[in-house]
């Protein structure tokens, strides 16, 4: 695993957006055959730098050298011809086109005469990439029919197909489960062996430690340091990221749940194949739901929340039977849901941060129909501070926030509500480690105040760290409920695979 010569040098890169200086004279370099991790808190400027490298943005200042030649990367095509490919943080596939067409978008193979798309070649080539990534859907599947994890893997295949010398991966694993993550890691090792340079952005420190050769840390748009991975510990990276030592983990308090916050009795949802599912969640309890992709966890959440109302069975909140036909009913019954897909279900991207945070509680802050806008902004401001959301202000358009900060808004939106039962579906996706700790503390605090909390997460360490009990789902059934003491990664995986 010899690391080759330096092939990329970015120096003095500066980028301003209205109201923010996203990058302030940062530098970054990359060698052939290395995996170079880029770390930093949410909003530190990681994605912005990568977008400059991949031609989506233009820097306001600074230079880029590729193999010692200065280059101007004026647009994505230039980046492609220079051998730079990127897997963006935000999924952006074309929903009504097939997987194969998405992979080779804009580069579809054509036959000689007539110059029609060579479907056979297209599908075959795509199938090869899908196989390499051990994906079990065909190249002709429509992207709109895929789950997020599957879509993320299509993005990987897309970048892979470019055969680039430099491959940028901006938080590829945040939407993946262990299984796909492992596939991805194997792939990265293979690329590395072939001398390809990989930029790897992730908030999962274990991954950085395990995969990377070097790590560069940004803080607040500034360059902090670059280190050989062998020379630095996880704590060290975190310290560089946040500029101080992090607090110790909040302990999980043992609870003696006497009252139930949420009880599901014989829940049946035909369209999701959920049959006679039973589950109960105590007040003050944090219950984790683990499982593989497609286990039906998100569907269960959607059903409880009334997005896809249940066909039969009963839902009890705080001992009262409730009828939930829509999210509105669910909210009225005291249930909140942090949805899995922030872009589609969680956020009003073109609306202001403050508007997003308060959209759930407008009733509470209005008189008759008239809004108390000041109060709304005050509440928004409180949560912006509480969750350390990096934004120029509550009036900023949400779409301009970094991925992790957007996720914080989704969480804030539900914190304002203070429901009796809170369901969190992959709540910390893309959130930096410091903020994660704070969110964990918040969750514990909410539980402490008597809220019942249901956490769906594909990050097992997260579940193990946070939950009083862990339910494991496989094939739309609950296969086990483990107490905190009994739960280990191995046992969970056994039940998750249906064993």
């Amino acid at each position: 695993m010899a690391i080759g010569p330096c092939i990329l040098r970015m120096e003095g890169i500066t980028k301003r957006f209205p109201g923010v200086k996203a990058l302030d004279e940062v530098r970054f370099d990359l060698c052939a055959g290395e995996i170079h991790a880029l770390a930093g808190e949410n909003g530190a400027g990681k994605s912005t730098l990568m977008k400059i490298l991949s031609g989506e943005y233009q820097a306001d200042g600074g230079t880029i050298h590729l193999k010692d030649n200065p280059v101007e990367i004026a647009n994505p095509q230039t980046a492609q011809t220079l051998g730079i490919a990127i897997i963006n943080q935000e999924l952006a596939l074309i929903p009504y086109l097939s997987v194969a067409e998405n992979i080779f978008l804009g580069r579809e193979p054509v036959k000689q005469v007539p110059r029609f798309v060579d479907w056979q070649k297209l599908n075959q080539d795509a199938a090869e990439y899908l196989q390499r990534l051990k994906l079990d859907f065909g190249p002709q599947t429509l992207v709109e029919d895929l789950s997020i994890a599957q879509q993320q893997m299509v993005e990987v295949a897309k970048a892979l197909s470019l055969d680039a010398q430099i491959l940028i991966m901006d938080e590829p694993t945040s939407a993946l489960t262990e299984k796909e993550s492992e596939i991805l890691f194997d792939l990265m090792a293979e690329l590395k062996a072939r001398g390809i340079a990989v930029v790897y952005i992730s908030h999962r420190m274990e991954e950085i430690q395990r995969l990377a050769d070097r790590v560069t840390v940004f803080r607040d748009g500034r360059y902090v340091a670059t280190s050989e991975i062998a020379d630095i510990t996880i704590e060290g990276i975190i310290q560089q990221m946040v500029g101080r030592k992090l607090q110790a983990h909040t302990p999980v308090t043992a609870i003696q749940a006497t009252e139930t916050a949420l009880k599901l009795v014989d829940l049946t949802v035909h369209r999701h194949g959920i049959e006679a599912l039973n589950l109960s969640l105590g007040k003050g309890e944090v219950l984790g739901i683990a499982g593989l992709v497609g286990a039906g966890r998100s569907e269960l959440a959607r059903s409880i929340f009334g997005v896809d109302p249940i066909d039969s069975g009963d839902i009890f909140v705080d001992g009262r039977k409730v009828r939930i036909q829509s999210p509105k009913d669910a909210i009225a019954a005291g249930i909140g849901l942090v949805p899995e897909n922030r872009k589609e279900q969680g956020l009003l991207l073109k609306m202001a941060v403050g508007e997003n945070i308060t959209i759930n509680i407008l009733k509470r802050i209005s008189r008759f129909l008239f809004l108390n806008k000041r109060k709304a902004m005050d509440i928004a401001q409180t949560y912006i501070e509480k969750l350390k959301v990096k934004t120029p202000g509550a009036m900023e358009k949400t779409i301009n926030l970094s991925g992790g900060n957007q996720q914080k808004i989704v969480i804030a939106k539900w914190l304002t509500m203070h429901p009796q039962v809170m369901i969190l579906d992959e709540p910390t996706r893309g959130i930096d480690i410091g903020a994660k700790n704070e969110i964990y503390a918040l969750i514990r605090e909410l539980a402490g105040s008597g809220m019942g909390i249901l956490i769906i997460s594909s990050e097992l360490p997260e579940i193990l760290r946070l939950c009083n009990r862990i339910a494991v789902m496989s094939q739309r059934k609950i296969t086990a409920i483990l107490s905190r003491e009994d739960a280990t990664q191995e046992r969970i995986m056994t039940y998750a695979t249906g064993g």
Binding site: E56, P76, L93, Y96, L105
Partner: protein, 308 residues
Amino acid sequence: MRGLIQRFSGLFILLALCLFLSFSTEYFLTQRNLVNIVLQTSILAIVALGVGMTMLTAGIDLSVGSVAAFCGAIAAGLIVESQLGIWLAIPVAVVAGISLGLLNGLLIVYGSLPPFIATLATMAIGRGLTLVYTDGRPITVPDPAFVFIGNGEVLGVPLPVIIMAALLLTAYLFLAHTRTGRNLYAIGGNEKTAHLAGISVARGKLLVYMISAFAAATAGIILTARLWSAQPTTGMGLELEAIAAAVLGGTSLFGGRGSAWGIMVGVFIIGVVSNGLNLLEISSYYQQVIKGFVFIMAVILDMYARKK
């Protein structure tokens, strides 16, 4: 079977309509009437294919009716007044039409105008140009070769139908089998992704508005030939009918979804319904009432058939 119904739901609705009409009026299921329907719908079909392509890119083209009138008038004027042969007059007219399409494209791509407004402006401008060119009067074209385009038959098939079939086939091949065609779906599905993938969004958009204008120009010339005269008021309201046909055929107004065959099914639903209502001798006022009802029902049935 289930999959078949899902895939061809529009077609089934069309067949059901035909079945109903063949039982309720003896005139419907005659060879002559069927040819008649296809002939009648050919102009709408050609226009709808063009408009449908702009809709694929999340655009719209309201100017097609005016462009049709404009091109019909230019062709007629060149033949009658400038004594140009039809082989020169028609290409000139088509080019004039395409340049209006180019104007649409430029306003949208480089002027950043919403397609609705850009093409609304061109709709007004095109109509005005037509009125100015014709001095507000119809231009009669006695040229038999020209008239043949609208009324002639080849091997018993009306020429407009042949032109329509050729354009339909071309549109199908373009949309389903060429790279440029497929990329239109990407532009409509997610413009930014398309751009990042190196697809020229500007070029794609310019292209569809020019194609749409070309289709409208073709339709306008056929219409002029069919009526032996260019009418300055021709094609008013054609845009709405074309958009309706495209939407009935499963094209999304928000882009990225639709197909040439789907548009064709939409066109024929409209054609069969208006033919059927005439044959059933429904009064013109109630024809409108029923048409409104049938369109909505067709979409509802289509959606339920598609549901998984």
